[in-house]
């Protein structure tokens, strides 16, 4: 219980207290606090438990690097797991719970695990839990793992808005370097986007303060923001630049309280990375105890929130940065000892006891810091603020392909200039210290003349610090994942000497803090124990995200109806009025049946009525691709298995489109509207690919000036009338006699009520059919007219389910349902072109491979059975001998007109088996069925013409 609130100071509003709970206990903070600052001020030390050993853990840092204070937060009834207390703005009534602890972080029953730590080294699970079986052990391990708890009732909305932006210059980080870069560029008239992760610009200036150009830094920051905006740029706070992607794309997550977050995709002419640096821990025994904190975080909480981290504070370091921390805490009234590992140090800040050349070797205390050993001496302290050096935040530089070099003087891996398409300035570049940051930022922003002057000392001096191999205690390297120096040593001893192996074997750097505070120490330790340099050891690959990003931000609005939105019929409202029940058929929303009741029964009734009188259906989703020009016939010939150039204008022919591997890609009727004009039909879900196949052939092997390909699917509404009463029905709708008199497979382009009408006598049901197309905007009129004539012939609207029955009765295939990825046209009984055509066409050569010539290929047949319809997906099996699949049922229905089940199947050598009985295997049960021709209704085709 050592953190305390100063009576004044900080950017909080002491007049507005906010009550909140942590692990069920009531606390109070102030408006302007974060959850972390409020908890620190409350003196609460244990904020969580470690992942593996359930060690008590307290606040370490001040931002996204926080490894320990991971909290489930319930705010306004909505629970979100795994938030960093450092990043949660305090709100009244907020409920926070520690994770990985049972029941509370304070009293965690799993703390006993720490006693077994010596038997649970890195990777111990690879060496045990094998007998009797891993799955015996796994459930209890799973229950213990995981951090926070998902709230099954919280379904965050898809309200993150994707935004695209361009900038002349993108500046990442609005600390001194970023501000200087942005101002210099904006002064040159460039549109600058200055992006800052924190809620305010200024970076470390916000808590360190400082004078720039003779005034308070805030004047400089305000002037920069104003200059940027005046030049057409933008200053964005609360925005995390999380990924650098190919071709100069940067992704940024902007948080907007109370409104949907935004996901920015920014392309910039130039980029300056000024993301600062993160303080490293120090490595001493028990360096994970609550009360051990980042020194810089100590100053952060003191300046911004008026919270002192402790009363008797040891500041341990080997660089200049924490001197300001020590001084400020002493001034605030804490008793401060500064242990600097260097012999040659700056002067002690006022009121601070400075120990030169002094190293901390151990923190003492069971649940929190109670003392520290410094050079063998026992120091009575309650808080240890550490600074083990600085790690430049180079993630985005490396994501963009950049390489790093070791800067020995600063003990940091810094960007190698020219290896990534961006400039790096300030602490991110290893330039520690205010003036250095301003200088680099100014230059990176294209500033000419002198950089802004700060009233501050030059660069900070840094002495390398490393884990102590001689230490007897446990020195934590990765706090959240509980990886100690001994684990690194063990990994190296067992041969996991690549950094990637180290990471994977020990899980170092794989926690939610992404190894922010751990990775450098890990690789430095690995380098030390393997006798290599830090550079030889290398780093793991930097990849997006720079910081964890909520899934909804990346997913964007593509949810529900906007997820793979189905295509819709222009006449959908009219079908809706008719009682259509909708279903997704190959990406199109189409009527499955009409009216109320059991769907199967409805489909049966519709199919029967269509056979007995007439049926109407909307075929508008069917692809319609015009092929136009003097070269049209040659192109269509090449792209179709069946020759179409021999068609006379006004006639239609059924054919197949094959892939070059000879497989049936699509089927459909080709209409020749004129000598130089064809209309190629395509299945609803194949229209786009058929168009591309036509285009590819057109551009690749024909003269593209002689033929054009035009997908006109959306231009037309097509309604089909089918059944014995079809002729009467269309006449009743006022459609011309010449249309009604069309012969089978003829097409006419005419007019109806003053609008163009294309009518084709093609049939997908075997019955007399008219496919009537009018421009889409006149579809309503056609539908109304046909609907009006419906009653007179006793016709009904039929959905896709009934249509599927009708076409299956006739043995007409649906490509993709009755064919699979190896079906060739000869398997469907279409052998003619393969045998007779001598010209080239798509897929031709592949129809003659050894496999394509086999006699036992799966062929389309019908199945006849007693009782209920056969299950689709059932397999045909021999009735005797070894059970194996001979093929499978592809379509199956009860035929209302035949009064018995019908089915289509692909069966091995099916044509040779006509008349034979086979077993039909489905989920363990086998029925019998007879193999028959695919067409089971009106095989003579007597109904074709009504």
């Amino acid at each position: 219980m050592s953190g305390w609130r100063l009576p004044s100071g900080g950017a909080i509003d002491r007049a507005r207290p906010l009550g909140f709970t942590f692990d069920g206990r009531q606390f109070e903070g102030f408006a302007g606090d974060t959850l972390a600052s409020a908890l620190l001020a409350s003196g609460t030390r244990i904020l969580g438990r470690s992942f593996k050993y359930h060690r008590p853990r307290g606040l370490w840092g001040m931002g996204g690097e926080e490894p320990n204070a991971i909290i489930d937060v319930t705010d306004a009834g909505v629970t979100t797991p795994n938030l960093r207390a450092t990043l949660v703005p305090l709100r009244a009534g907020l409920e926070a719970r520690s994770v990985n602890a049972s029941p509370t972080a304070e009293r965690d029953c799993w703390a006993v695990l720490d006693l077994l730590h010596r038997f649970l080294p890195a990777g111990f699970y690879y060496k045990t839990f094998m007998a009797p079986d891993w799955m015996r052990w796994e459930p209890s391990i799973r229950r213990m793992a995981g951090l926070g708890r998902l709230d099954p009732g919280n379904r965050p909305p898809a309200d993150a808005v994707p935004m695209n932006a361009r900038a002349d210059l993108l500046v990442i980080g609005a600390g001194p370097a970023g501000l200087a870069a942005a101002r210099a560029a904006a002064r040159n008239g460039r549109a600058v986007w200055l992006v800052e992760e924190a809620p305010a610009i200024g970076g470390a200036l916000r808590w360190r303060g400082g004078a720039i150009e003779g005034a308070d830094w805030e004047a400089f920051a305000a002037d920069t923001a104003q200059t940027v905006e005046a030049a057409g740029g933008r200053v964005m706070t609360d925005t995390t630049l999380w990924g650098a992607f190919d071709h100069g794309l940067y992704a940024a997550w902007e948080r907007r309280a109370g409104r949907g977050d935004r996901h920015w995709r920014i392309r910039a002419g130039e980029v300056v990375l000024a993301a600062g640096a993160l303080e490293r821990p120090l490595w001493f025994a028990n360096n994970d105890l609550p009360g051990v904190m980042s020194a810089e975080a100590g100053l952060h909480y003191l300046s911004l929130y008026g919270v002192a981290a402790g009363r008797r504070v040891l500041v341990a370091c080997a660089n200049d940065a924490p001197y300001a921390v020590a001084g400020a805490l002493a001034e605030a009234g804490a008793q401060v000892t500064l242990a600097d590992a260097r012999a040659d140090t700056p002067e002690a800040p006022e009121g601070v006891r400075l120990l030169r050349g002094a190293r901390i070797s151990r923190a003492r205390g069971t649940r929190e810091v109670g003392a520290a050993d410094v050079d063998g001496a026992h120091l009575d302290v309650d808080t240890i603020l550490c600074s083990g050096g600085w790690t430049p935040t180079v993630h985005l530089f490396c994501q963009a392909g950049g390489k790093l070099d070791l800067d020995a003087r600063r003990d940091a891996l810094v960007p190698r200039p020219g290896t990534a398409p961006m400039q790096v300035a300030g602490a991110a570049n290893g330039a520690f210290g205010l003036q250095a940051a301003l200088d680099e930022g100014h230059r990176a922003g294209g500033g000419t003349g002198p950089a802004p002057r700060a009233a501050a000392a030059a660069d900070w001096a840094v002495m390398p610090m490393r884990p102590d191999p001689a230490s007897g205690g446990r020195q934590w390297i990765d706090l959240q994942n509980d990886v100690t120096f001994k684990d690194v040593k063990l990994a190296a001893q067992e041969g996991f000497r690549s950094v990637e192996h180290l990471k994977r074997y020990t899980t170092l750097g794989m926690a939610t803090d992404q190894g922010r505070t751990a990775n450098f120490a890990g690789l430095a330790a690995l380098a030390a124990v393997t006798g290599r340099s830090v550079e030889e050891t290398g780093t793991t690959t930097y990849r997006p995200p720079f910081a964890p990003v909520p899934f909804p931000v990346i997913a964007g609005p593509r949810r529900g109806e906007l997820f793979n939105p189905p295509r819709r019929l222009p006449l959908e409202p009219a079908h809706r009025d008719l009682g259509a029940r909708w279903r997704d058929y190959g990406g199109w929303l189409r009527p499955a049946t009409y009216g109320e009741g059991d769907e199967a029964a409805l489909a049966q009734a519709e199919a029967l009525e269509a056979r007995q009188a007439a049926g109407l259906y909307d075929a508008s989703s069917l692809g319609k691709i015009e092929v136009i020009g003097p070269g049209a016939a040659a192109l269509v010939d090449f792209c179709n298995y069946v020759r179409m150039s021999t068609l006379e204008p006004g006639r239609a022919r059924y054919g197949f489109m094959l892939s070059e591997s000879g497989v049936v890609h699509d089927d459909g009727v080709v209409l020749r509207l004129a000598e130089d004009r064809f209309l190629v039909s395509a299945s609803s879900s194949h229209t786009a690919s058929v168009r591309l196949m036509l285009e590819e052939a057109r551009q690749d092997r024909f003269d593209p000036r002689q033929v054009f390909v035009h997908d006109v699917t959306a231009h037309w509404t097509t309604l089909t009338v089918t059944g014995p009463g079809a002729r009467e029905l269309i006449l009743g709708a006022g459609i011309a006699e010449e249309v009604a008199a069309l012969r089978f497979m003829r097409v006419a382009e005419t007019a109806w009520r003053g609008v163009p009408l294309r009518a084709a006598r093609v049939s997908f049901t075997g019955d007399l059919s008219y496919e009537l197309s009018v421009p889409a905007r006149h579809g309503g009129m056609l539908m109304q007219a046909l609907d009006g004539a419906r009653a007179a012939v006793g016709a009904c609207w039929i959905g896709l389910e009934a249509l599927m029955i009708l076409r299956a009765e006739k043995g007409f295939v649906l490509v993709g349902k009755d064919t699979d990825g190896v079906t060739m046209p000869q398997d469907l009984g279409w052998t003619g072109p393969r045998e007779k055509r001598t010209d080239e066409y798509l897929g031709r050569r592949a129809l003659f491979t050894p496999e394509a010539r086999r006699a036992d290929r799966r062929q389309l047949v019908g199945l006849e059975a007693e009782g209920e319809a056969l299950p689709v997906g059932a397999h045909a099996v021999p009735l005797e001998g070894q059970r194996r699949s001979l093929g499978f049922v592809t379509s199956s229905h009860m035929s209302p007109v035949l009064g018995r089940p019908i089915a289509l199947a692909l069966v091995e050598a099916g044509n040779d088996r006509l008349g034979q009985e086979v077993g039909i295997f489905h989920l363990g049960e086998t029925r019998r069925a007879r193999i028959v021709p695919a067409c089971s209704y009106d095989p003579e085709g007597t109904r074709r013409d009504g």
Binding site: T128, L150, P156, L249
Partner: protein
């Protein structure tokens, strides 16, 4: 080598774990071997292990240009399954699954095979029919496959989005109880350790720059560590295989694409099975650590770069949230990509490459991890005997000229 056990951990724990030896020897290449395997991923290491263990071969080297298991073995989403349609595929992947089932004990290395079951979920009646086709095919091929109803699926995966506004409501799907996940790194390390113990030289940081040929026969490899002669050379280098095979004049039907994977921050158990959703193309499981491990379709641009791009991320993650709206509480913690070697029929190529002495194990595309034991077993058989195992024969390179493709994606509507 049988010294990994709870007892050993206790014993060595008392002495600071100083006794553990390297999991595998860091070998320097010798001038000649009976067999050289190019590629130190799961398939290459398993090949070496089975060559030594089953075929008694002794002079074997595995050459890895980076770090062991750093390719697709260490970059996948760890699912193992044999829920396939064609008998050839089932035989292959179920051999792998059966070997996985005994692998931890065989290798004395816990590969954490967790047979928590996998659902391939359907959302339209048409997809359910395809699911029935596959489930029946699995049964006829003596593999556990069930057709699961929508209610049963939701009981097993309670967080599935069954709201009225859901774009793809789950109607059920194919359930394979023996499917599950395994710890990918452990598979590589376990094989490496076991192979190394049998005398296999595992050489990391060794780049093969050329194939040595004499009179149309491959006689070894040229590397940045010198010339290595070998009676037989096996290529198990995924996306790097086409360039290597080209050195011997062999062309392969491979395109290389980036396939991404995603990991969330860890949470307490909330998903107990592996799930592949046909509607969204997104698949996922929850790791023992509590992280959701998520995958989806390929990035659309052929590449050799191990980086992913935003469009595929948006597609996969929007699919995830469409299936599981509560997962909108979670954050993307890590993301990475592997370069997968995609073959037109999405089935692997295993067999003689053409020139004598050269053998192939490639083309696994997005599905190589689950097949590692079988890939190794079959390539070892080939390299040891010079002839196909009956399970690998259908996957010979010659199938393309014969037109005998094994196209699961097109045949069953579901990709590997």
């Amino acid at each position: 080598m049988h010294d990994y056990s709870a007892f050993a951990l206790l014993r060595r724990g008392l002495t600071g774990h100083r006794g553990w030896r390297p999991a595998w020897r860091k070998a320097r290449p010798k001038p000649a071997y009976d067999a050289v395997i190019v590629g130190g991923g799961g398939h290459g290491l398993a090949t070496a292990y089975y060559l030594a263990r089953r075929h008694g071969m002794r002079r074997i080297a595995v050459l890895e240009k980076g770090w062991l298991g750093g390719g697709n073995t260490g970059r996948n989403t760890t699912a193992v399954r044999s829920n396939y349609f064609y008998p050839e595929s089932v035989a292959l992947y179920d051999l792998a699954l059966r070997l996985y089932e005994g692998l931890s004990r065989e290798l004395n290395y816990n590969v954490m095979l967790s047979q928590r079951g996998m659902l391939i979920a359907a959302h339209t009646p048409a997809q359910m029919e395809i699911c029935a086709r596959i489930a029946n095919a699995m049964r006829l091929n003596s593999v556990d496959g069930e057709l699961m109803s929508g209610e049963a699926a939701v009981r097993r995966i309670p967080l599935l989005n069954q709201e009225a506004g859901a774009r793809y409501r789950c109607l059920g799907g194919i359930w394979q109880g023996r499917a599950g996940v395994a710890r990918h790194d452990a598979v590589a390390w376990g094989y490496a350790r076991a192979a190394s113990d049998l005398g296999v030289d595992i050489v990391e940081g060794c780049t093969v720059t050329d194939l040595l040929t004499e009179g149309g026969r491959v006689t070894g490899v040229e590397t940045d560590m010198g010339t290595i002669r070998a009676e037989r050379v096996g290529l198990a280098a995924a996306g790097a295989t086409p360039a290597l095979a080209a050195k011997a004049g062999v062309r392969l039907p491979i395109h290389t694409y980036a396939l991404q994977a995603f990991v969330s921050e860890p949470v307490k158990p909330c998903l107990d099975t592996v799930l592949l959703y046909l509607g969204t193309g997104t698949y996922l499981s929850q790791s023992d650590k509590g992280e959701l491990v998520i995958g989806g379709g390929l990035d659309r641009v052929p590449t050799h770069g191990q980086r992913g791009n935003l469009p595929a991320q948006e597609t996969v993650l929007s699919g995830l949230l469409e299936m599981f709206p509560p997962f909108g509480q979670l954050r993307l913690l890590r993301q990475w990509a592997g370069v997968v070697d995609v073959v037109p029929d999405s089935s692997p190529v295993i067999g003689p490459a053409g020139p004598e002495g050269l053998y192939l194990n490639c083309g696994w595309g997005t599905g190589g991890f689950k097949a590692i034991p079988a890939g190794g077993w079959l390539l070892a058989h080939l390299m040891a005997t010079g002839t196909h195992h009956e399970i690998s024969r259908p996957f010979d390179l010659g199938r393309f000229a014969e037109g005998r493709l094994i196209d699961e994606a097109a045949g069953a509507g579901i990709a590997h």
